[in-house]
Amino acid sequence: MKKIINQPDDVVSQMLDGMVKAHPESYQRLEGTTVLARKNLSENKVGIVSGGGSGHEPAHAGFVGEGMLDAAVSGEVFTSPTPDQMLEAIKAVDQGAGVLLITKNYTGDVMNFEMAAEMAEDEGITVEQVIVNDDVAVEDSTHTTGRRGVAGTIFVHKIAGAAAQEGKTLKEVKALADEVIHNVRSMGAALHPAQVPGSGNPGFDIKENEMELGIGIHGEPGMETIGLVSADELAERLVEEVLAELELKQGDETAVIVNGMGATPLMELYILNNRIHDLLKEKGIKSELTLVGNYMTALEMAGASLTVLKLTNELKKYVTNPCQTIAWTIND
């Protein structure tokens, strides 16, 4: 597959340098690491660190900035970053008020973040961890690793970041992040798979007249393969699956992400949102905030996911107040 890269081994490092060169006023790359951190840290604030494999841009580094993350740690493509890198991020953003780690529920991410948290505690830094598991496509049970963390993670970044910015304690920020995780659900569908740079094969096989429903963000399998449906039909299926797990009633308020997987044009995402918005309205559900675009991608995977966050008054305040990041800015 054709890609604009140099050596496959260099993609993450060169991407990070490219990001810093595009935004030198807001970012710094910690020397010798894959950590992008805010240039100006707010004093006495709980630090917020997120991370994961690369290939999900703008997640995670695109959400570093005032009101969201203080640092993001990038692993190899679709591979969890290592604990020593996370430890550097934790140390860099700790202001004495402790650090919250935001992890998506993938086995490698969870294990590496846990080890990083243990190493940080050994150095006297208080660390809390939340694990995002918003994907309704895979069931939660004791026999599997549970639901995956996908685009709902963006709302966890936003709300935890806003609460930290306001001066809440580590305990309070963690409690809010857990509340977001409890109230957020997502599901995605793919038309074409992603391909890891340097690997000869696409992540999965899919025919021209098929789509994969319930995909994750790495090319792991979906829930089922279905025939290609129209945007409206896809909207109906996604809304149905996501709402089934949220216990929403008439008059409830939500925040929505119609997320592109990387290779889907905005035109198609807006067409999808057109029907999603109407479906929610027909059910009497208010969408207080709608994001349409690429937020949690999977390289050149074509497809989209729907994320719905059920809002409380407190969550509504934090999800809509100002933030300044490359990928999501809300002005005063």
């Binding site: 604990p83 490698g108 992540g203």
Partner: protein, 206 residues
Amino acid sequence: MFTAEMARQWIKESAKKIESNKEQLTDLDQVLGDGDHGLNMTRGFKAAVEQLNEETDEPGKVLKAVGTSLLSKIGGASGPLYGTLFMKAGNQLEGTEVQLSDLSSSLRVGVDGMKKRGKAEREEKTMIDLLEPVIELMEEKGNELTPAHLIDKAKEALEHVKEYEAKKGRAAYYKEKSKGKQDAGAQSSYYLIESLATVLDKDGEA
């Protein structure tokens, strides 16, 4: 005896085996996981070989440093798991006069650490299904262990792993469909044991 030089040879041999089977590991992982096991393991073991301390005569120190190196280079789930195995086992081995029975008990501590880290038990289609039966055999044979013992047990375990249903990691999303397919982690663990057997064989006395 298990010397520091043998520990170094074990890691060099493992790195060689993993590198030459990189594509097989990646292909296995592409079926049940996310297709990066070969790449990640090759990167990790290459780094482990590069940092090998040629000075020390304590095998425990060699293995511990290998663990740290794997942890910081592999990433994914395999980094913490193999990192834990070698760090814990290395911590356990003291001094220069290390017997095969000491190696077995240190690897036992390492594997118990992996189980705890990965919250995994036997028969969940993971590295544990390859490593734990081999270590049980090592404990049973003590200083009488031969390279042939290791290889036979590892081959037998590898065949069993294939038939289990995956309960951990990304492979778990496949449920029953995972049966009959090989686990990439169990396969890479097999190469570690095969390499250990090669090193013991070369030593001549085991």
